[in-house]
């Protein structure tokens, strides 16, 4: 209730709405009370025609309602929100008393003989009714204000937390990239230098000592193999190859490293291609790129390992959220032939990636049958220009 009120209107609106509701109910109760205590009968006994009785009854209702509206409006005009309760109660009591006096003056002698005591009692009851209605409205408005403050604090905490996570991820990415670069650069370069040095010795040895030359060349080849395969694999574990350049480059690298018996292809959807063509860099921020590339790699590995696939096709595109122009979502689909999962799908290694995608507001879905598998994943697209603009929400592509 409080959440709906907070979403629907401002605190002042809440005071007006709840105050009017209370005051109108009070007015109707007062009218019912007037009828119950013989108001119309008194009018008839005083010689009024039925038409006059009806007109007078309508007049009573209208006066009650107008007084209710007046009480609420006057209290709202005193701008009670944000003030101390002493001020609020003062405003409520003053307004209630004034309106009650007006009401008693307007209705005091309608339908029944009155005494001063009757008027005082009637005015006190009426004023008390207004006080209860207005204080109730102010209390509800306070609840709304407190709820909104709580929501703002929670949202701010979520944003701060998301920023902190983004910062940590960025730092982690930088650190991993540094180590990977060292492996790729310094370590591999030294291995290359060693292999090249051995090659030069081999050239000199070859004419006179071909066997020694051949043995040395094998050592150089093994060094090159260690450099190309083992060091690269370590580096890739830390930081997927080329992911710092773009998702497209990294996925192409993954496809290039498929065994020759497997045909791999990468399709870019029109929106994604448009973003790439018009940007200087990849439109996806680095932490998101890592998740995307890891997901594609896991899907390819599963397709080959479990599905014995011979064809894999990766499609990447960007879709707009159905709820509006923003945010954009990256949608990836990895299709593979071979044997796909059937029945209840156990995600295995993909479960970890599903968690990583979910933490960023995305998700993945794996389906399959005897003819192959389809892994679909999506992720809210946070552009490099505004990495924190898009936080997980209700919007889905």
């Amino acid at each position: 209730m409080i959440r709906r009120l907070a979403a629907a209107t401002s605190p002042t609106g809440v005071v007006t709405l709840v105050g009017l509701l209370n005051a109108v109910l009070f007015a109707l109760m007062a009218f019912a009370h007037w009828v119950g205590w013989g108001g119309p009968d008194g009018l008839e006994s005083s010689g009024m025609t039925p038409g006059q009785v009806t007109a007078t009854s309508v007049f009573v209702v209208v006066v009650d309602l107008v007084c209710a509206f007046a009480a609420v409006s006057l209290v709202v005009l005193t701008r009670p929100l944000g003030r101390r309760w002493r001020y609020r109660l003062g405003a409520v009591l003053t307004v209630s008393a004034a309106v009650a006096v007006v009401r008693v003056a307007a209705l005091g002698d309608v339908g029944r003989p009155v005494t001063l005591v009757d008027d005082v009692l009637d005015g006190a009851a009426t004023g008390l009714g207004y006080v209860v209605a207005l204080v109730g409205a102010l209390l509800v408005a306070d609840l709304v204000v407190a709820y909104e403050a709580q929501m703002r604090a929670r949202t701010a905490a979520e944003v701060a937390s998301a920023r902190q996570v983004a910062r940590l991820e960025a730092q982690e990415g930088v650190r991993r990239r540094l180590v990977a670069d060292r492996l790729h650069g310094a370590v591999q370069n030294r291995l290359v230098l060693l292999a090249a040095g051995i090659d030069q010795v081999v050239e000199r040895l070859e004419p006179d000592r071909p066997d020694d030359a051949a043995a040395l060349r094998r050592i150089a080849d093994q060094l090159a193999e260690v450099s190309e395969r083992d060091v690269r694999a370590l580096s890739h574990e830390l930081f997927p190859t080329a992911v710092d350049v773009s998702v497209v480059r990294a996925v192409r690298t993954l496809l290039d490293r498929l065994p020759p018996s497997v045909a791999g292809a990468l399709d870019l959807g029109p929106t994604y291609r448009d973003l790439v063509d018009h940007g200087t860099d990849d439109p996806i921020v680095l932490p998101d790129r890592l998740v995307v590339v890891d997901t594609v790699e896991e899907a390819l590995t599963n397709a080959l390992k479990h599905g014995r696939a011979h064809r894999v096709r990766v499609r990447l595109d960007v879709e707009r959220c159905v709820a509006g122009d923003a945010p954009l979502w990256l949608v990836g689909v990895v299709r593979a032939d071979g044997r796909g999962p059937s029945g209840h799908v156990v995600l295995g290694g993909l479960e970890r990636l599903r968690s990583r995608l979910a933490a960023r507001g995305g998700g993945l879905h794996l389906t399959g049958d005897e003819r192959g598998s389809v892994l679909r994943f999506d992720l809210p697209l946070r552009t490099a220009a505004s990495p924190e603009d898009t936080l997980p929400g209700d919007c889905v592509p």
Partner: protein, 226 residues
């Protein structure tokens, strides 16, 4: 094709390599070659952008991974500024996807060598000459370990045609290939015509040797079958 100087003037080469020791070794190699004039030797992306002004370089030898930037992006930027500049990409690991991606927008075919191969002076010289002439040389070590992907056009080549295409990818001339395989030059030409036909390369003015090389690289794998 062990010499670079084909027109009587030296080929102006710029070297961009962030590993100092490698750069010094390559500098020595380049200085030792007649027909090669090393005009710039720099250690990074930003430095290269500053000193390699359009018209100052015929061939840029660029490390694929620089400390302060991406070598492929640098090559593309250099070619945008000067479409005549040739690019020879160096890498200490297989950077074939990056190399192939760069070809999509290249104004002049790029060549690609592993760093180990770049220290073989004949290979380096051949690659520089190819880059200057708008031809293409791909690292012999990588080409030798390439095998055709299934269901591709390259997989439909005969073993002899595949071998000829692999040697073309290394920047070898028809004469050299004929000598290497012990067949007539005419036979090499016939194999190549068959290769072009199978790869669907027409003769409308494109450099079919370059297109065939790109098809070879795109449709082969340099990784084991398991």
């Amino acid at each position: 094709m062990d010499t670079v100087d084909t027109m009587g003037t030296a080929v102006r080469v710029s070297l961009v390599e962030d590993e100092l020791m490698l750069r010094r070794m390559l500098e020595q190699l380049l200085h030792s070659r007649p027909g090669v004039a090393l005009v710039h030797s720099v250690g990074g992306f930003q430095e290269a952008r500053l000193v390699m002004t359009p018209g100052s370089t015929d061939v840029a030898i660029v490390d694929v991974q620089l400390g302060d930037g991406d070598g492929v992006a640098l090559g593309a930027r250099l070619q945008r500024a000067d479409p005549d500049v040739g690019v020879l990409l160096l890498s200490c690991h297989d950077a074939m996807p990056a190399f192939l991606l760069a070809q999509e927008t290249a104004t002049k075919p790029w060549s690609y060598l592993s760093k180990r191969s770049s220290f073989a002076i004949t290979t380096l010289t051949r690659a520089i000459a190819a880059a200057a002439a708008g031809e293409q040389v791909v690292d012999p070590y990588l080409v030798e370990r390439s095998s055709a992907r299934s269901d591709t056009q390259v997989s439909r080549l005969s073993p002899a045609q595949f071998r000829v295409l692999a040697l073309v990818s290394q920047g070898r001339t028809n004469d050299w290939i004929a000598g290497e395989l012990g067949i007539a030059v005419r036979s090499v030409e016939n194999h190549l015509l068959a290769v072009y036909r199978i790869l669907g390369l027409d003769s409308d003015g494109h450099n079919r040797r370059v297109l065939a090389t790109l098809a070879f690289l795109q449709q082969t794998s340099r990784y084991p079958a398991t």
